[in-house]
């Protein structure tokens, strides 16, 4: 169908580094590691790649990719769209294949923040010439406002609200401790989560994801070529970006209870993929859990939970690995940290492994399997910006014929 990406391209290879405080490696090292994993997975070499898209929030030009890989004069586009960077690089790579311009392309996401000397990100604004009449802001402050209004609107006491968002983080840590690639692999108790120091009230330390280093890569081709290369390619069902007008801080219509761009991107993606009831039809999801409250609200924005009712699903374990709709199967940003330009492809990597039945390739020894039984459709979601205005990506991948 014109206007839809559904089943027009397929992923034939992926790679992903361990995420974390990678003091020992550079961004270039991580690019090489992720891309060569993807080559090996697809059974191809550098010479087979016809064009590439690089997602990074920090590096300039496509040479950030061509230099370490020694790509020989092929087109490389550098993409930046905040936390949706890697997913948008992937999206544009898919479009080029669907358009028939290329039939073997590479999408890579990378960022290295742990050479900055600080924990967390900066204020999100580049230092340099400005009127400087905006206060310094921080991401946790902006997302904490979702929690403030959510607790207030739905009449949750501070303890009830904290427990709800704490349970989001607890679930992710339960998943992350099984994953070899995760930054944080410790078992974290609810007590630890609930009693952690405040970062931006009411969000405590364990309501916030960390910042880390990492890279991930995907190789995209046509369905015909993919089927000739392997028995289990993963098919792209929907790719949507929604860009907010960033008026939430100025427009009294905005309620600080939801993220409108997520709703818009999700509805467009469901339409593109032919999904009517996402709570029933989506098998699993990796969403942007920069903060625990972000994930909670996103469950409602994606229609995984009814509006105002996510607390029941969270507390009942609906999003746990053994729940009705597992979310953050690899541990999410909560356990992987957030190298901005890489996260979207890291999420896609988990969907890819699960759909191929290969999730236990990353299983830490001694833990029960992290592989879902028969997943059919996986959703990834990124939020770049803050609730009052952001860049949203929603993508769906899955098995053929779904």
């Amino acid at each position: 169908m014109p206007g839809s990406i559904k089943d027009r391209v397929a992923i034939v290879g992926m790679g992903c580094t361990r995420f974390g405080e990678r003091w020992d490696v550079s961004a270039a090292d991580m690019i090489v590691e992720a891309v060569y994993q993807a080559y090996e997975d697809a059974g191809i070499e550098t010479k087979d790649i016809q064009a590439a898209w690089l997602g990074t929030a920090t590096g300039m030009t496509g040479m950030v990719l061509s230099e370490p890989l020694r790509l020989q004069y092929i087109p490389v586009t550098r993409v930046e769209n905040a936390c949706a960077t890697a997913s948008d690089a992937f999206r544009n790579a898919c479009y080029a294949v669907a358009a028939g311009i290329y039939d073997m392309v590479l999408a890579v996401g990378v960022d290295k923040f742990k050479d900055s000397g600080i924990s967390g990100l900066g204020d999100g604004g580049a230092p340099g010439p400005s009127h400087a009449m905006e206060a310094e802001s921080t991401p946790p402050r902006q997302f904490a406002m979702l929690a403030t209004t959510y607790f207030s609107k739905y009449g949750l006491s501070f303890e009830e609200g904290k427990h709800m968002i704490g349970r989001v983080s607890w679930k992710s840590h339960q998943n992350g401790m099984r994953n070899k690639n995760a930054h944080f692999q410790k078992d974290v108790s609810m007590d630890t989560i609930l009693n952690a120091p405040m970062v931006a009230w009411p969000l405590g330390l364990f309501d916030c994801c960390g910042v880390s280093d990492g890279a991930a890569a995907a190789i995209i081709t046509t369905p015909e070529i993919a089927q000739s290369m392997r028995k289990d390619p993963v098919y792209v069902k929907a790719l949507q970006i929604s860009m907010a007008p960033r008026d939430g801080n100025f427009n009294t219509n905005y309620d600080f209870l939801h993220v409108e761009a997520t709703v818009r991107a999700a509805e467009a993606a469901y339409k593109e993929a032919g999904i009517k009831n996402p709570r029933e039809e989506i098998s699993m999801a990796e969403v942007h859990d920069c903060f625990s409250i972000t994930e909670a609200v996103t469950m409602e924005d994606l229609r995984f939970s009814p509006r105002g009712k996510v607390r029941d699903d969270i507390e009942n374990g609906f999003f746990d690995l053994d729940g009705g709709l597992p979310v953050q199967l690899d541990g999410g940003l909560k356990c992987f940290g957030h190298p901005i330009g890489a996260s979207g492809l890291r999420m896609l990597y988990e969907m890819y492994l699960q759909l191929q039945g290969r999730a236990d390739e990353l299983l830490n020894p001694g833990f029960p399997s992290r592989q879902l039984a028969n997943p059919k459709l996986g959703l990834t979601h990124n939020l770049g910006g803050s609730p009052d205005g952001c860049a949203i990506f929603v993508g769906i991948v899955g098995l053929p014929g779904v």
Binding site: M133, R141, A144, W201
Partner: protein, 478 residues
């Protein structure tokens, strides 16, 4: 006839008990407390605060000049009064002037304003005086100095308070001084300044003023006498021969010595209780003495309802942590925050935004009527209506003087700040429009969705020689 047509004042929210200073230094703390400017306040912001109180029911576009007095101007070169005038939305044609470098700068400005209006060269002049002199830790001055501001609007219609006479004596007697390289105020042996200067010059100035209009001490309803501390103030008042009932509270016990602002603040305290026909004698001190005699008219009753001195004295929070005070005043080396340093402010960008950002103008759509702010890192001017999408069909709409209520908020422990946590709040304004601002003068526990706030002009940051000012919000405390 020229005189005062409105007044306003400001006392910072935080008060440091003198006992807390004494406790810190194992010394005898005096009685009472001193008003302490917040970490983001200075003479510019306090002048705006007093100016807002003074212009409560006055169109700022009718004010033709702003005379700002302070010995603690944030800028040595860049007109401080013009920053205040812009924030208060005075017209560009205002004849702004900085009065500086002497504790009498406040009364100097009053006399200059009066003369200008009397001469007819200016129809109305706003005088603001503010100070926050810094005293070295553990010294006597630390207990005496306080922070605050006063504002007087001079004009010739509906004059509430006339000036009958003034007498001005200037003498190069330096009891207190600061050179170009001094952070803290220096003073000579205090008996010299007191016995040779303070106990003599104000007496002569007051006598000169009273002689000019043929008044005796018993004709004076209130004596507003400046002074460094309660002890010397009481000694001078006694020497001048006024009765205790005539002495206006010099605010030394509850606010401290507010420098150039002191004469205005004492006078405003007196005006709040004044009756038509009262005569008030104001006597300032500092390298000489100015004495001014005021006569209160019937119109005084038209300018009540300010926060002034009385209400501001009650709007307060005890600062029981001396370390917090040291930090606010940058008197102690604090570990640098684990955050990237703020970039330099751009003078061209600040200039481009000054007429919207400093007076806090947004716009109102002429098509759909939606009031709206636009505050991004690159611009403060909306071009496309966020509601109906029309381009450039706006009229100016000022938010600075509007109250609002909190739509959401957070207390940010991560952001670098002089007084963590930084409280950020999204404000829905009465009459429409929304913005996100930092909140100050708040207790974290009192914040809630729906709480009422008002706007306050504060310093946002100081980077590489540039003070950047913008608006924050604070809880309404009437």
């Amino acid at each position: 006839m020229a005189g005062i047509i409105s007044y306003g004042a400001y006392i910072p929210y935080y008060r440091l008990p003198r006992a807390a200073i004494g406790k810190m230094w194992d010394a005898k703390g005096g009685r009472g407390e001193k008003a302490v400017a917040g970490f983001d306040e200075d003479p510019i912001t306090m002048s705006v605060a007093a100016g807002l109180d003074c212009l409560r029911d006055v169109d700022p576009r009718t004010v033709e000049a702003l005379f700002l007095a302070t010995t603690c101007a944030p800028y040595k070169e860049r007109q401080n009064s013009t920053i205040v005038a812009t924030a208060l939305d005075l017209p560009q044609a205002a004849r702004n002037t900085d009065f500086a470098n002497c504790l009498r700068a406040g009364t100097n400005a009053i006399m200059a304003a009066l003369d200008s209006v009397e001469a007819g060269t200016l129809k109305s002049v706003l005088v603001t005086a503010a100070d926050m002199r810094l005293a070295g830790a553990a010294g006597e001055d630390e207990q005496d100095f306080g922070d605050g501001s006063g504002a007087l609007l001079f004009g010739s219609n509906n004059v509430a308070v006339e000036i009958e006479a003034y007498h001005c004596l200037s003498e190069d007697l330096a009891d207190y001084w600061r050179s170009h390289e001094d952070t803290y105020v220096r003073h000579w042996e205090d008996r010299f300044g007191r016995e040779e200067g303070y106990m003599r010059l104000p007496v002569e100035a007051a006598a000169g003023a009273m002689k000019k209009c043929g008044l005796k001490k018993e004709d004076i309803s209130r004596l507003c006498l400046c002074g460094a501390n309660l002890r010397s103030h009481a000694a001078l008042a006694a020497k001048m021969g006024f009765s205790k009932e005539q002495i206006q509270d010099p605010l030394l016990a509850d606010v401290g010595n507010t420098g150039t602002a002191q004469p205005l603040m004492i006078l405003i305290g007196a005006l709040e209780d004044a009756k038509p026909g009262d005569r008030i004698l104001l006597v300032s001190w500092g390298n000489g003495s100015d004495a001014i005699i005021f006569r209160v008219n019937e119109e005084i009753d038209n300018i009540r309802g300010r926060r002034g001195i009385k209400r501001h004295l009650k709007i307060k929070k005890t600062l029981d942590n001396y370390g917090r005070y040291l930090r606010w005043r940058d008197m102690v080396d604090i570990a640098p925050p684990p955050r990237p340093p703020a970039g330099a402010a751009s003078m061209s960008a600040q200039w481009r935004e000054h007429s919207t950002a400093l007076p806090l103008y947004g716009v109102k759509c002429k098509n759909c009527g939606t009031p709206q702010l636009y505050l991004s890192s690159s611009s403060t001017r909306a071009r496309i209506c966020l509601n109906c999408g029309r381009k450039d069909e706006f009229e100016p709409y000022r938010f600075a003087n509007r109250r609002g209520q909190v739509a959401s908020f957070s207390h940010d422990f991560l952001a670098a700040g002089t007084d963590p946590p930084t409280t950020a709040a999204v404000i829905d304004f009465e009459g429409g429009g929304r913005g996100q601002f930092n909140m100050v003068d708040r207790e974290p526990d009192e914040c809630s969705v729906g709480m009422k706030v008002e706007m306050t002009f504060r310093k946002l940051q100081y980077t590489q020689g540039t003070h950047t000012y913008f608006w924050k919000c604070k809880p309404v405390r009437d």
